[in-house]
């Protein structure tokens, strides 16, 4: 730094004086998560060991990206999440998306499927095919991906409680199509801890759910080398109202917990860590989100290397999918959501995401229409092909502000790790409602900020005129539920019930036995055309159910 004569001020002091002479706007200068933001960041805010902390893309600690070439080599995968109605309707939407340039598939299941209920259960009434596709048996799974080469396209499935059952369905559906599990590429979410933390779609109590998940990871590590058996997800944690640091900390801690469990089962960390992938939210606070992704890569690489002693360089890579924030969308002036989504998507891209889902502007009102979905996909294509942001790697690397935020959010995550360890680890912390309470507190505080007008949400608590327009909405077909129940009954009528009963009995027996891997038995049940509800019921006979004691 240049020497300044004693009687002269430094340019920084000059700036500060001039800055302080100007009154500031009367708004809170904090991130969406409440972190104070300084008026200016300088070289002094960079970490001492900049080179070591930031490094190069594709090099430890991967702050600047997991691959040496990033989007210069290959753009992110544009992966729009879709699912509604019957398997046949969703299959049509999949073909539509592939025809419009989408490069991977992402499957949304309906609530009964997520909770392990068949479509004819009284608990499913009104929910069949509403928020996703209804899948009851392997027949539905076959219809869902009809005409799509499962050996070629990567398929993502967002399901958790009954993930192992849906994976069994997928494996058998592909098998009937002549594609062996070794060739299947894709991801199943299967992140059970975040269900108890945030998404709240469960089938079993926590401990047996952890076991089923472990069985699936173990089986995949032996049978499905191209498959990601878990997508460790912060998305729902953030949607439940967490801060960015909570999303980061709870998600990474969930991931580290899955690794601990697998290592305890005797797996070598390098045998499965390269297949783990992540899923984060992209909220509206642009720089905070970018910092979050950069910090996530650095923490994951460090923990895998230093705590778990991973040797395979691929084990250190935190690869992730991003979805723009559903919670940031407003029912008022829905077209504004196009703009929010574009900015959030840009944050995901500048944060180095491997794949991206952009929400549709009408999703605070209903499931998206086809036109709205196309506009959301076009948003990604404009970012990719028109803006130029994909031309250079980590364009914000070295930014005083972004590096300082990255360090800050990383430090906050480690504080959470410490608290969780003091509670006895993540499983114990979840049972004690710790992350649930932290999230509820954060979401309540943000709502109070919005209600008081301290935080502006355009069209909601400011600039509210002009919400008269009508938005065309997606409508579910009321006959759909009946049709799905008929299909399920037809499968039940056409199968060998003795074989079903016997496969379910074997599953119950293995579930009661510690150390038995349930995956092969779930595949056997699938081959007999057992329904999801029947399989879940068989497991619940042994494991019981989960009831939450909610905190608010």
């Amino acid at each position: 730094m240049a020497q300044t004569p004693d009687d002269e001020q430094s340019p920084e002091q000059d700036w500060r004086e001039a800055f302080e002479a100007t009154p500031e706007r009367e708004v809170p200068f904090t991130t969406l998560s409440g972190t104070p933001v300084e008026p200016l960041y300088t070289e002094a805010d960079l970490p001492d060991d900049v080179a070591g902390q930031i490094g190069f893309p594709g090099q430890y600690p991967f702050t600047r990206g997991v691959y040496p070439s990033m989007y210069r080599g290959r753009l992110w995968t544009m992966r729009q999440f879709a699912g509604f109605g019957s398997a046949e309707e969703t299959n049509e939407r999949f073909h539509y998306l592939l025809d419009h340039g989408q490069t991977g598939l992402s499957t949304a299941f309906d609530m009964p499927s997520l909770m392990g209920h068949d479509s004819d259960s009284p608990l499913s009434l009104g929910e069949v095919g509403r928020e996703g596709v209804a899948v009851d048996t392997v027949e539905d799974m076959t219809t869902l991906y009809k005409g799509i080469d499962l050996g070629e396209v990567s398929v993502s499935m967002t399901i958790n409680g009954p993930a192992a059952i849906m994976l069994a369905y997928y494996v058998v559906a592909a098998e009937r199509d002549g594609v062996p599990p070794q060739q299947l590429a894709g991801t199943i979410q299967a992140d059970i801890l975040k269900e108890y933390i945030a998404q709240k779609e469960w089938c079993f109590p926590i401990d047996p759910a952890m076991r089923i998940m472990g069985d699936m990871i173990e089986w995949c590590s032996q049978q499905m080398p191209r498959w990601h058996p878990v997508s460790i997800s912060g998305y729902h944690i953030r949607e439940a109202g967490s801060t960015a640091a909570q999303e980061l900390a709870f998600t990474l801690k969930d991931g580290l917990t899955y690794i601990e469990q697998a290592v305890e089962r005797g797996l070598d960390v390098d045998d499965f860590a390269p297949r783990l992938s992540f899923f984060f939210n992209a909220q509206i606070d642009f720089f905070e989100e970018i910092a979050k992704y950069r910090a996530a890569r650095r923490i994951w690489a460090r923990e895998l290397k230093e705590t778990f002693g991973a040797k395979n360089p691929k084990s250190l890579l935190m690869r992730f999918h991003t979805q723009t924030a559903g919670v940031s969308l407003t029912a008022q002036q829905p077209l504004n959501n196009v703009v929010r989504t574009a900015i959030e998507a840009l944050a995901g891209v500048l944060g180095g995401t491997q794949s991206l889902h952009t929400n549709s502007y009408d999703e605070a009102l209903a499931l998206p229409t086809e036109d709205a979905v196309r506009l959301a996909l076009r948003t990604q294509q404009i970012i990719a092909d028109e803006t130029g942001v994909a031309s250079t790697i980590d364009p914000l690397g070295g930014s005083y502000f972004v590096e300082a935020l990255t360090d800050k959010i990383e430090a906050e995550a480690y504080e959470y790790f410490k608290k969780i360890d003091e509670l006895g680890g993540m499983v114990a912390a979840v049972k004690a409602n710790y992350p649930q309470r932290e999230i509820a507190d954060a979401s309540y505080e943000l709502q109070q900020e919005i209600d008081s007008g301290r935080r502006v949400v355009v069209g909601v608590n400011a600039y509210t005129e002009g919400d008269g327009g009508q938005t065309a909405l997606h409508r579910s077909d009321p006959a759909m539920e009946r049709g799905q129940v008929d299909r399920l009954n037809a499968v039940r009528a056409g199968r060998d019930s003795a074989a079903v009963e016997s496969s379910l009995a074997k599953l119950r027996e293995a579930a009661a036995r510690e150390g038995a891997n349930l995956m092969p038995l779930l595949i056997d049940c699938t081959r007999t055309d057992a329904s999801e509800g029947e399989i879940v019921q068989a497991l619940q006979d042994v494991f019981g159910r989960y009831t939450e004691s909610p905190v608010f």
Partner: protein
């Protein structure tokens, strides 16, 4: 993180509005329900939150057992046109017609008149300020015939 401590020590007055906040159906989106439950509690109401995945029968049972003045049904799964009529029907079947029924969540504008026809007093869609909901309950419960 600082928390606003709920005012649990305040003398429970018989005038206190008793509200059941309920999550019917299978959807697990409980951010809104929990924020509303807490805001109503902080506003001095007696709040009973049912927790997730409740059947219409369970919700009506809670309303009866808790002698509630009002119920807030939070639904983000699109199943409102099935679940809300069922709950209203079950309430009627029990001879209950003075409980203020409100609905919150992703409810398309076209469905709101139908819900109101069924007897739903108000529908709050995403972005509704919590104060508006508090004010509505205070006035709607206050306007009922005295029990």
């Amino acid at each position: 993180m600082p928390r606003t401590a709920p005012n649990m020590t305040a003398a429970t007055s018989t005038q206190k509005i008793r509200v059941v906040v309920a999550k019917p159906g299978l959807d697990g989106h409980d951010r809104g329900a929990k924020i509303i439950a807490r805001a109503l509690r902080d506003a001095g109401m007696e709040v009973i939150y049912t927790g997730l995945h409740q059947t219409p029968e369970q919700i009506v049972e809670t309303i009866v057992q808790e002698d509630a003045d009002a119920v807030g049904l939070s639904i983000l799964s699109g199943a409102h046109m099935t679940l809300v009529p069922k709950i209203v029907e079950l309430l009627r079947a029990q001879g209950i017609d003075d409980v203020v029924v409100t609905v919150g969540g992703t409810i398309p504008a076209d469905d709101i008149p139908q819900l109101k026809e069924l007897g739903v007093a108000a529908v709050f869609t995403p972005g509704a300020p919590t104060q508006e909901i508090i004010d509505f309950l205070v006035s709607a419960v206050g306007e009922r015939e005295p029990r």
